[in-house]
Amino acid sequence: MKAKSLYQRRLVNFIMLSITAGCALFSFLVLVMLIIALCKNGYPALTKTFFTALPAPPGVDEGGVSNALQGSIKMILFSALIGVPTGILAGLYIGELARNTRKADFVLNACGILSGTPTIVTGLFVYTLIVIPSGHFSGFAGITALTLIIIPVTARITAEILVQSSTAMREAAFALGASQWNVTFFVLLRAVRSGLASAILLTIARISGETAPLLFTALNNNYEADSLSQPTASITVTIFQYALSPFAERNDIAWGAALLLTLFILAVTLIARYTGKPQYLSRPLR
């Protein structure tokens, strides 16, 4: 009796282990194949011209994506500069200042719904809000779309991290006679800063790959946009358009841009991993 149940358990154990290991191996292989394809096709395209030249006319070699690189960097940077602080402040409101109130719950739910909204819908929204009234696509519209994606995600993450942080430490700070803002900024925010920084980096990695909201807002530009009120090129939209182009040089550039984007996101994700690791494992925060 006893031996049989042991045998059965071992069998079940073996089967489960095989299935899960198989699935893990499968997803790992997909990743490896993806990276091999990206490197094989993309690496040759990453020449000096790729980084420094403007797009060439179709069929002409010697084209680059310098405008798209600049456009992407600008749009990601500005949307992060606006969206991250706004999101953190909103998160502080939800998770600390208005903690456990109806208002905070309401804002938290709104952020939950907003961060679950498909980004193409956000793009469409900004299109009707800015692009149609102004009569043209623009970098501003692109920044607005990306910012609208960043804010609810950052707010929700900030609020969640704050709520999970130690209530005893919070009480201890108040018990010393500290004011609400002092506790919030000098103790609580400080306690969660590495987790928060890591979450924010992951959010930035996520918006770096966004294409749909930019198609509706910033669109593209064959030249360097003089200002953000003009249509602005981006790496993702370039990949989308060049990959579908009938011209081989453009397909190559699309591969190169895809490799570059993947490497960037990979790097940011790794940095986020490292940043988010608790510095002092001896005593985890509760």
Binding site: A168, E171, A172, A173, A175, G177, Y280
Partner: protein
């Protein structure tokens, strides 16, 4: 001020008919007690009796939550601190608190103590450093940490962290210190040392402690209050509590737990 409600020569704290509510749920009923300066009061009783809730009256920590409220009066040095007009910051400067779980802040050892001081005093760099040193010396932590004041507080052992929290409290010069099971999360040897420290602190401070167990109450406290179901059942000098408790509930609790 001449608003003192009673003779404060013998009585430092007087709690009068305090009821306490979490939302609509009442958990403290008609609590009354008095306590002298420079002595140690232990709040004892079964889990859920209301000891932690009662302890948080003295610094109005419950005020952090809108749905909690207290009725009655808590006089500290003759002034009712439950009065809504009473300045909370002034109150909390005067009443320190130590929690069951050590609560160092995510900063260096030095900054942990300087944080509290800066909330209430404007000091020069050297006076601040001096004050930090004195606080660490008082809790007997100075020798262990003097070479790594800029090291992170989380690198200290739990017992050292608890001492740091005590140093942080006394660095802002309180008169009353509240302790909620301060030795519950640290090792037995360090707990013993912390008990000794509590004994020496009473020369300068008045202390109200929720002890980890009855033995600790017996070792550190001068007076004991026995709580049950949110009511104060008995208030006696600690030595009498063990030799001849006058109340049946207290006796049951003591004999049932300390054998």
């Amino acid at each position: 001020m001449n608003t003192k409600a009673f003779d404060t020569n013998n009585t430092y704290i007087e709690v009068q008919n305090v009821d306490f509510f979490y939302g609509k749920k009442q958990v403290l009923f008609n609590n009354c007690l008095t306590h002298r300066k420079n002595s140690i009061l232990a709040l004892i009783g079964p889990a859920g009796a209301g000891k932690s809730t009662h302890l948080r009256l003295y610094n109005r920590l419950f005020d952090l939550h809108k749905d909690r409220h207290a009725q009655g009066a808590v006089y500290i040095d003759g002034i009712n601190i439950l009065d809504q007009k009473y300045d909370l910051i002034k109150l909390r400067k005067n009443v320190g608190m130590i929690f069951r779980q050590p609560t160092p802040f995510p900063m260096s050892i030095f900054e942990n103590i300087a944080y509290g001081i800066r909330l209430h005093y404007k000091l020069t760099k050297s006076t601040l450093a001096e004050r930090v040193r004195v606080a660490l010396e008082t809790v007997l932590l100075w020798n262990e940490v003097k070479d790594r004041l800029n090291g992170h507080a989380y690198k200290l052992t739990p017992a050292q962290q608890q001492l740091l929290c005590i140093a942080r409290s006394i660095a802002i010069d309180p008169e009353l210190i509240l302790m909620d099971e301060p030795t519950a999360e640290i090792d037995a040897i360090s707990a013993g040392k912390l008990e000794d420290l509590i004994g020496t602190l009473k020369k300068k401070y008045t202390i109200i402690i929720v002890p980890q167990n009855l033995q600790q109450a017996a070792r550190v406290s001068d007076f004991s209050i026995f709580f049950n179901d949110g009511r104060i059942v008995e208030a006696v000098p600690t030595n009498q509590l063990f030799t001849n408790p006058t109340n049946k509930q207290t006796e049951d609790y003591i004999t049932g737990r300390s054998v």
